[in-house]
Amino acid sequence: MLRYILWRIAVMVPTLLIISALVFTIIELPPGDYFESYIAELRAQGEGVDMEQIESLRQQYGFDQPPLLRYIYWVGGMLQGDFGYSFEYELPVGEVVGDRLWLTILVSFFTIIFTWIIAFPIGIYAATNQYSWGDYGLSLIGLIGIAIPNFMLALILMYFANIWFGTSIGHLMDQKYLSEPMSWAKAKSILEHIWIPVIIVGAAGTAGMIRRLRANLLDELQKQYVVTARAKGLSPTRTLVKYPLRMALNFFISDIGSILPAIISGAEITAIVLSLETTGPMLIKALQSQDMYLAGSFLMFLAFLTVIGVLISDLALAVLDPRIRLQGRSTK
């Protein structure tokens, strides 16, 4: 097993290298670079452009070098913790992202907890009471939850919150705390704001998880070993928890692999609609303005989290499912 973990970690290196090359290529693909977009923007606003200053910036950041060399500089910098410079914000990438990253993780963390707390009981209820009115009703709500785009839900909620309570529900905290250091008042303000994005962002995920848990559990409830457990005299509830639910959890653990990257990138459009101070809107803006180091670092970070997430879920599956742990990989 230890050998397996080491092997998996070793395989991550080439995987990430290939991803970094892909990311770099995709960012390079559109014609022009950040400075050309910048010039075009300035011209559109009718301002003069100091071409000399631009040229010197270009040289400073190596934009006159061939792409391969720039790629090597970029990767080399990332290995040393230098993620490059954001032209848009005129700050190092690390500083630009900093605060927002923690807020994003906070929102995502609450969202995941919210999803689990709501989805689990409902999923189990829907599976054990299949085709009952409760199942139909909850399934309907769930399907609506999947069908409505998050940003739409955000707009609707904003509208009604404004009409009924006369408040704006945007942002993650009161604007006056935005650039202040962390304090009790700021934390309180964040907690007051955070539940709205959590509900909105969590809606689709919750609905999806209810459906998947229901489907997996329904499959397991048909299995022979459930009948065996009932024939032992085990009560229905204990049977459910000990046998089919445990089996149905495998999908849930596999999900961890995709949850990690979603923590950072999740719900960009909703974040824009609600003006949340998370990383999502920043990523989209960076891609639009070809702010390549910011965008590239983001994408690499997402790739890294995906690879780590998949590793974690694979290891967790091996721990929880003896079949995966003990059954030899036979070649047949």
Binding site: L2, Y225, V227, A231, K232, G233, L234, R323
Partner: protein, 630 residues
């Protein structure tokens, strides 16, 4: 015996299932009784309602079922008053106390009836946890004791094993331990040995019999196998399409069957005392009109050399890598096929017998070029010159594929559910570019006729056919290309006894009329005996004995063949299984064989010894024929 002493009385039991578009009556007014300490067998084919009855007794019917009638459980040993099990609340505390403690059940599929995620010991001791006050240490001690009783050599280790680490037979033993740990008054065994090999089946039957008399419990044995019934039952209840058609002591039922269904069932089972040429009487005989195929077959029936397929020194090794938590895993190599040689003569049916895992299916896959052997040769000669099957590729391989066709075990999964019968049967013709669309439909029609299916079925999908009908479609598909060699891999083991006779007769007729050569693979000796001209017995990848049918059946030489024959339960009260002579390890354990048959751990120590008359047995070179006959 008065009725008051009955342990279980089923009175007017009706079970209906509501399905899409109406209700299906699975059991229509069943009445029978189970006496304490006796084995009552409930006999019927699949779909007859026998499993529904057992589920009704346990109260574990699916929720779409409706039940009426009475099931009186009179558990005097536990000092309880008679109780109508059907009147108890579904999954209520009263029925929960009876389940597992007073009435328990073992199921057909030992593979799926245990949870794969929990240890054996955990699942067995859980019954004690539910029904007794025993503490953890006592539960473990009692579970280990019982695991030893049901035949685990190392109960302490078995307690901490997972079900998938055990063989099918050992899993069924664990199931039995789970059912018996609270010493129930009634054990329901639902086809307990159907999924097991014949020697394992004999061991499990022996174990059930022993424990049943030791614990003096009653047993409801549900089965379709009359051989099992004859060896186990005190009383027999025969169920047919939800109706109980006959019930009584086993002697009366076997020696003097009354109901036509029971008589038919008895005539449909192949047995070893059949005279050469004697036919099984299928309950519903299917007329075979192979004549429609003969026109096409005639041309290819040209005389060729005597030997159609010649297999020499086949070997195939699978390697399994098992990895521990730490460090490198060990690689174990498993010889699935080990130096196998045989000939299939033109026009004969060669039977290949062996228990699961002996490599018989791998051999058939090598012949089909689905698996590549490590070494050895397969020569195919249909009169157009001998070809080396293993070296063919491209167009030559494609041409060979048309000459060797296969009938598979599972009639459900071997037919695509998304294709109509017409598509299924004309696909091989399309692949090989035979004829035009119109002539293909003609061929499909004649194929359907040949296997006794109505031509109107041509546009139906497989799901609208019964198991036997599907298997006939599978046979028709194999015949579509007019093969020289038909490989049948357990073609009847998924079918009911009555349907089995139908399919066997069909194959026999087709072979005779079309002059087919067949390789018939089965674990069922009686079936192979009915079909084959010569029989090869495989054990652990090697052919241990090969002989003409009568010689092998009457005068087996190899100890493995003997143990296989001894383990077959006959549907005959005068020839019960000799449980005492059964080997605990199932006959395939080399250490139990005589020195002349055992390789003693040496490579190449064994070779096929010729006993004359085409009778070969795998033995040591030093052993002479007289020594082997001992």
């Amino acid at each position: 015996m008065t009725s008051a002493a009955d342990l279980l009385r089923v009175e007017g039991l009706r079970i209906t299932f509501s399905v899409l578009g109406g209700e299906v009556e699975a059991v229509r007014g069943a009445n029978f009784r189970i006496s304490p300490g006796k084995v009552t067998a409930l006999v019927g084919e699949s779909g007859s309602g026998k499993s529904a009855i057992s589920q009704a007794v346990m109260g574990i019917l699916p929720s779409v079922a409706k039940v009426s009638g009475r099931v009186l459980f009179n558990d005097t040993a536990a000092g309880a008053k008679p109780v109508d099990l059907l009147s108890l609340e579904t999954d209520g505390s009263e029925i929960q106390e009876i389940r597992g403690a007073r009435i328990s059940k073992i199921f057909q599929e030992p593979m799926t009836s245990l949870s794969p995620l929990h240890r054996i010991g955990n699942q067995i001791s859980e019954v004690l946890q539910i029904h007794t006050d025993a503490d953890k240490a006592e539960r473990r001690a009692r579970t280990e004791e019982l695991l030893g009783d049901v035949g685990f050599a190392n109960p302490k280790r078995a307690y901490d094993m997972y079900p998938f680490e055990l063989s099918g037979g050992m899993r069924q033993r664990a199931m039995i331990a789970m059912a018996l740990i609270c010493r129930p008054a009634l054990l329901i065994a639902d086809e307990p040995t159907t999924a097991l090999d014949v020697t394992v089946q004999a061991q499990i039957l022996q174990l059930l019999r022993e424990l049943q008399s030791k614990l003096n419990m009653a047993m409801l044995l549900i089965t379709h196998d009359l051989g099992v019934v004859a060896n186990m039952a005190d009383e027999v209840v025969v169920i047919y399409h939800g109706d109980i058609v006959e019930a009584g002591p086993v002697d009366a039922i076997f020696r003097n069957p009354q109901h036509p269904y029971l008589k038919g069932l008895m005539a449909a089972v192949p047995h070893f005392d059949m005279k050469p040429g004697e036919r099984l009487k299928a309950l519903r005989e299917v007329p075979v009109k192979a004549g429609t195929l003969l026109g096409r077959q005639g041309a290819t029936k040209a005389t060729g050399p005597d030997v159609l397929v010649s297999v020499r020194n086949l070997c195939k090794t699978y390697s399994t890598r098992s990895s521990g938590w730490f460090g490198s895993g060990s690689t174990s190599r498993h010889r699935a096929v080990d130096d196998v040689s045989f000939d299939i003569r033109r026009g004969e049916c060669l039977g290949l017998v062996g228990e699961s895992g002996c490599g018989k299916t791998t051999v058939s896959k090598i012949l089909m070029r689905a698996v590549t052997p490590d070494q050895g040769s397969v020569t195919f000669d249909d009169g157009e010159g001998a070809v080396d099957v293993l070296k063919l590729d491209g167009a030559e391989l494609k041409a060979l594929r048309a000459k060797i066709q296969m009938v598979f075990q599972d009639p459900v999964s071997s037919l695509s559910p998304r294709m109509t019968v017409k598509n299924i049967l004309s696909e091989p013709l399309e692949i090989h570019g035979r004829g035009n669309p119109k002539s293909r439909v003609e061929t499909v029609r004649s194929l359907l006729q040949a296997v006794g299916l109505d031509q109107r079925f041509i546009n139906r999908y497989p799901h609208s056919f019964s198991g036997g009908q599907r298997q006939r479609i599978g046979i028709a598909r194999a015949l579509a290309l007019v093969p020289q060699l038909l490989i049948c891999d357990e073609p009847v083991s998924a079918l009911d006894v009555s349907v089995q006779a139908q399919i066997l007769n069909l194959l026999k007729d087709l072979q005779k009329e079309l002059g087919l050569t067949m390789l018939f693979i089965s674990h069922n000796l009686a079936v192979v005996d009915y079909m084959a001209d010569r029989i090869a017995v495989m054990c652990a990848g090697r052919i241990v004995e090969l002989a003409p049918r009568e010689v092998l059946m009457r005068n087996p030489v190899h100890p493995y063949t003997k143990s296989l024959l001894a383990a077959v339960p006959y549907p005959d009260l005068d020839r019960k299984l000799d449980f005492d002579s059964l080997q605990a390890s199932g006959g395939s354990d080399q250490r139990q064989w005589g020195a002349q048959f055992s390789d003693g751990g040496e490579e190449n120590a064994l070779f096929p010894a010729d006993l004359g008359g085409g009778h070969y047995v795998l033995a040591r070179k030093s052993a002479d024929a007289r020594e082997l006959r001992l």
